[in-house]
């Protein structure tokens, strides 16, 4: 797509009104992971170059200056720590309460444990490897345990999902099912309850005290596409009663369900989004941590789409997004070498209600705070 400079200018002018804050950066290599490692820092990782760098970046301080924002000129990312991975990074998770991340790669089924340099050194050092104790596909999905003892829940197919303690490498838990469904994502609800979503949209709810899992298959009419999920919970340790699950398909369907009743969705929608990409690799749906009932969707194209699900019902309709971030397509820095640009990942800021970070296949990474037209305030 060729951006005319007029279109880019138009978006630039528009951006003065539709964003409170906007920062546009260019990484050397694109990332498909953005993971919060601290209140002001994120980890990103290369998936395309020979060296596959893992970087911990400090967010622009201007975002945190509060009342003194005007006096803070710092609007750049600062590289805090860096390391090299021997394979392109598929999944990267920060371990709850520790200065440590775990990655999986595209060439193998192993997980690698990394120490993000303490104090003096700026090196991200590999401190361990976890080899799953069973046959596994490459690029395992990972979720951090939520207790003090550092652990990860990981899997490539439902039957190889297990929980491993980081320090000892001990397998704390393994599922007792022989389902071969491929895992698209997993997450802990509290210290023992967890949810796994399969590529075909089936949800599994398990408990680390019991190898059996309950599973919830999708309606026949919804099968045939690739699904990802997002869990909304208010704290690291939540009561399942307070949790909501959203599932997104590569055809643009969204199902919102109560974790207590995954058989029947409470809301659903057919989004007006077509997947341009041959790969479902970048499909991503997330719940806003502060705003009620808001979710963000990306991976279809070069945009991030934000929806308010409050008005959705059990009858599927096609809602309009409350905001669309078009910066990756339209900023002056956007690359136009003929390949289709796609947003590879996005995350919400933990406490700023409308701030998101998004990354795209051209190496761009944006930090943006959008204005809700319904509540206009500066």
């Amino acid at each position: 797509m060729d951006i005319s400079s007029d279109e880019a200018d138009d978006w630039f002018m528009e951006s003065l009104h539709i964003y409170r804050d906007l920062h546009v950066f260019q990484l050397e290599h694109p990332t498909k992971v953005i993971e919060w490692t601290g209140e002001k820092s994120i980890c990103v990782a290369d998936y395309s170059s020979a060296r596959n760098e893992i970087l911990e970046l400090l967010l622009p301080l201007k975002l945190y200056a509060g009342g003194n924002k005007g006096l803070c000129p710092e609007r750049d990312f600062k590289l805090q720590h860096g390391g090299f991975c021997d394979e392109p990074v598929e999944c990267l998770r920060h371990i709850f309460g520790k200065r440590c991340v775990v990655t999986s790669g595209q060439y193998s089924s192993k997980l690698q444990v990394w120490d993000i340099g303490e104090g003096d050194s700026d090196i991200i050092k590999r401190t361990g490897v976890i080899n799953p104790k069973c046959p596994s596909d490459k690029g395992r999905k990972i979720a951090s345990g939520v207790t003090d003892g550092a652990s990860v829940l990981h899997g490539s197919r439902i039957n190889d999902v297990q929980q491993t303690e980081l320090v000892s490498g001990r397998v704390l838990y393994a599922v007792g099912t022989d389902s071969l469904d491929a895992v698209s994502g997993l997450q802990f609800v509290n210290s023992s309850t967890f949810v796994v979503c399969a590529n075909n949209g089936t949800l599994y709810v398990g408990d680390t005290r019991d190898p059996r899992m309950k599973h919830y298959v999708l309606h026949g009419s919804m099968s045939g596409s690739h699904w990802v999920f997002a869990l909304r919970k208010d704290q690291p340790h939540s009561d399942p009663a307070a949790c909501t699950v959203a599932r997104l398909s590569s055809f643009g369907q969204v199902l919102v369900s109560d974790l207590r009743n995954l058989c029947s969705p409470v809301r659903q929608a057919q989004l007006n989004l077509q997947q341009n990409m041959a790969t479902c690799d970048f499909l991503n749906v997330t719940w806003a941590p502060v705003l009620d009932s808001c979710l963000a969707v990306s991976g279809f194209d070069g945009k991030v789409h934000i929806f308010d699900t409050t008005s959705w019902s059990t009858v599927s309709q096609t809602p309009q997004p409350v905001f669309v971030h078009r910066g990756h397509d339209l900023s002056h820095e956007a690359k136009t070498d003929g390949t289709l640009l796609v947003v590879t990942t996005h995350v919400w800021h933990p406490w700023r209600p409308r701030t998101l970070l998004s990354a795209a296949s051209d190496g761009s990474i944006h930090v943006w705070d959008w204005v809700d037209k319904n509540f206009e305030h500066f």
Binding site: F25, G70, L71, D76, H332
Partner: protein, 573 residues
């Protein structure tokens, strides 16, 4: 092997007093001479005692090169040249030469007048220092004190994109590590913020003051505002103080090659200051009601028009001041950027600062991606990182070493890094000489060994040529002196002189295969250019005297022949 030695004199752990000493080919060069803005005592200057403990630096330094006009890179220059003492050349680009004295004078005024310091350089010292400056153009090469090294490729690294650097393949690339660990927000986003702030103020009826330096960013911001005003159909006036326009036009003509495309295009199409929405400022306008934007000098609000306007507008919270860069300690700019709400003015009057203060940095430094691109394009053999702690640069060092397979050094202040280089000096060789030297043959015993080549190196202007001696003599209009050696070898031989000569001929012909051995009718034998004659005296007809004569070029062969003949002739002949 020639080494290059690099010693930072003042990069230290924080920003400031950039000063790097380079010893190359027996010459000493000082790169930058900056001031550390955080100190008020001698620590703000680089430590020159490393060069010499006492006295002037002139004898120890061959030249000084200043990269750009920021005070942390040139602030100590007048101190070094006039108070410590240095009379050699100081190289910098034309724009730097134009701006340096202005910044230095401003800085001096603030430090002496406002802060009351006494041990500081004077206005005259700044002028005397600038007299030693030799301004250069981009990519210009200069011979430093008749040394052949083309060292100065003044590529204005901080301010240009990597596209401007050609593959100069330096032995060492020196870069500040602070840039390499930053990922910069796009220029467009900075501009966006600027427009947003200005617009917000104007919308609520406020006045916006933008203190600027005489040129540079001011012009770009003007174009930005003009476009924005046009687009949004805004009516509020934008003023540009006239002091700026005159100076700026003058500087602009000087710098037109240094600026970016947009400004150049605009400048060419029309006079910079014939904007539709931007007008010249008059002092009285500051009291006009309603919103407006004013660009005024000086940039740090330390004197003059910008300070006057500031005093008038500071009390109203609807107004705004946008500071576009770093302000020196002691200035009003510095104080308000530190959040000060009450300022003490002349005559004990206090000024309440109620207007909104915005700090927007527009200076364009390179960042991580930029540095890597630069290294990729320039292809240095080694990299030196300054301005950072070694422990905090370990990742960067690894990254550079892995990606480019070159060494990365991080010396501390006063620590010397020695880099061994392998310089290649390209020399043109004349075709004739090459052909001749490649021809087969030569003195025994081993034609396969690397042999000395005879030629003449002519060094003229910047070229080095290797030609044959005859050609060199011809070019220089000199006549050649022939040097011939003669030696006599005594042989016992009962034959006649003529026969002895024939025997010598046969002998040499069998030994010297591949050489031109001739028996000439004038009773001489010639081997290459060596002449042999046989004679004897009447008293002793059997004692033959073999006369050998050769020219300097055939010395080796000649010596060989004389040694051979001294051994006598084989009886089989």
């Amino acid at each position: 092997m020639p080494d290059i030695k690099v010693t930072p004199l003042g990069a230290g752990q924080d920003v400031g007093r950039s000063c790097i000493l380079v010893s190359i080919g027996g010459k000493n060069i000082m790169l930058d001479c900056g001031m550390h803005m955080g100190y008020n005592d001698d620590r703000r200057f680089p430590d020159f005692s490393y060069i010499t403990q006492n006295g002037r630096l002139t004898d120890y330094l061959d030249c000084v090169i200043i990269s750009h006009f920021h005070l942390d890179h040139c602030g100590a220059l007048p101190y070094m040249s006039e108070m410590v003492g240095y009379d050699g050349p100081i190289y910098m680009t034309h724009p730097t030469k134009a701006i340096c004295p202005i910044l230095l004078e401003d800085f001096r005024k603030i430090t002496v007048d406002k802060k009351g310091e006494t041990n500081f350089f004077t206005s005259q010292m700044i002028k005397d220092c600038m007299k030693k400056v030799v301004p250069l153009n981009l990519h210009q090469t200069v011979q430093v004190r008749a040394d052949k090294r083309s060292f100065l490729n003044l590529c204005y690294l901080k301010y240009k994109t990597a596209a401007w650097i050609d593959k100069c393949r330096p032995d060492i690339l020196i870069t500040e590590s602070t840039y390499a660990t930053t990922i910069r927000d796009s220029k467009r986003c900075r501009e966006r913020d600027f427009l947003k702030k200005v617009h917000e103020s104007i919308e609520r009826g406020g006045k916006v003051l933008i203190p600027v330096f005489a040129l540079g960013r001011a012009q770009e911001l003007c174009i930005l505002l003009e476009t924005f005003w046009e687009r949004m159909n805004l009516k509020a006036p934008i003023y540009f103080s006239t002091g700026l326009t005159e100076k700026a036009n003058h500087y602009y003509k000087l710098f037109i090659t240094w600026t970016n495309q947009k400004i150049r295009k605009t400048f060419v199409q029309r006079n910079m200051f014939e904007f539709k929405h931007i007008k010249a400022f008059d002092r009285s306008y500051a009291d006009n009601p309603g919103p407006m934007v004013v660009f005024a000098t000086p940039g740090m609000l330390h004197a003059g028009q910008s300070l006057q306007i500031f005093k008038k507008w500071a009390g109203n919270e609807k107004n705004m001041v946008i500071m576009p860069g770093y302000c020196v300690q002691g200035t009003v700019g510095h104080k308000i950027l530190n959040g000060q709400k009450k300022l003490e003015m002349e005559g004990r009057a206090t000024l309440e600062v109620k207007l909104q203060v915005e700090y927007m940095s527009f200076s364009a430094h390179a960042d991580a991606k930029g540095i890597m691109q630069l290294i990729r394009m320039a292809e240095p053999h080694n990299i030196l990182l300054v301005h950072g702690e070694a422990k905090k640069m370990a990742f960067l060092k690894d990254k550079i070493e892995q990606e480019f397979n070159i060494s990365c050094y991080m010396p501390a202040n006063g620590e010397t890094t020695t880099v061994t280089t392998n310089p290649s000096v390209p020399v043109d060789i004349s075709l004739n000489l090459l052909k001749r030297e490649m021809a087969l043959g030569g003195p025994l015993p081993d034609p396969k060994r690397p042999r000395t080549m005879h030629g003449t190196l002519i060094m003229k202007d910047n070229s080095l040529r290797l030609v044959s001696p005859e050609q060199a003599l011809k070019e220089l209009g000199l006549s050649e002196h022939q040097l011939r050696f003669t030696c006599r070898v005594h042989l016992q031989d009962p034959h006649s002189d003529t026969d002895t000569l024939s025997r010598i001929y046969s002998h040499l012909k069998s030994v010297l295969k591949g050489y031109a051995v001739q028996h000439l009718p004038d009773s001489t034998v010639m081997v290459e250019s060596i002449v042999l004659k046989v004679s004897s005296s009447a008293e002793e007809p059997d004692l033959k005297v073999v006369l050998l004569s050769w020219c300097f070029q055939d010395e080796e062969l000649g010596s060989f022949l004389s040694t051979l003949l001294k051994k006598g002739l084989p009886s089989a002949l």
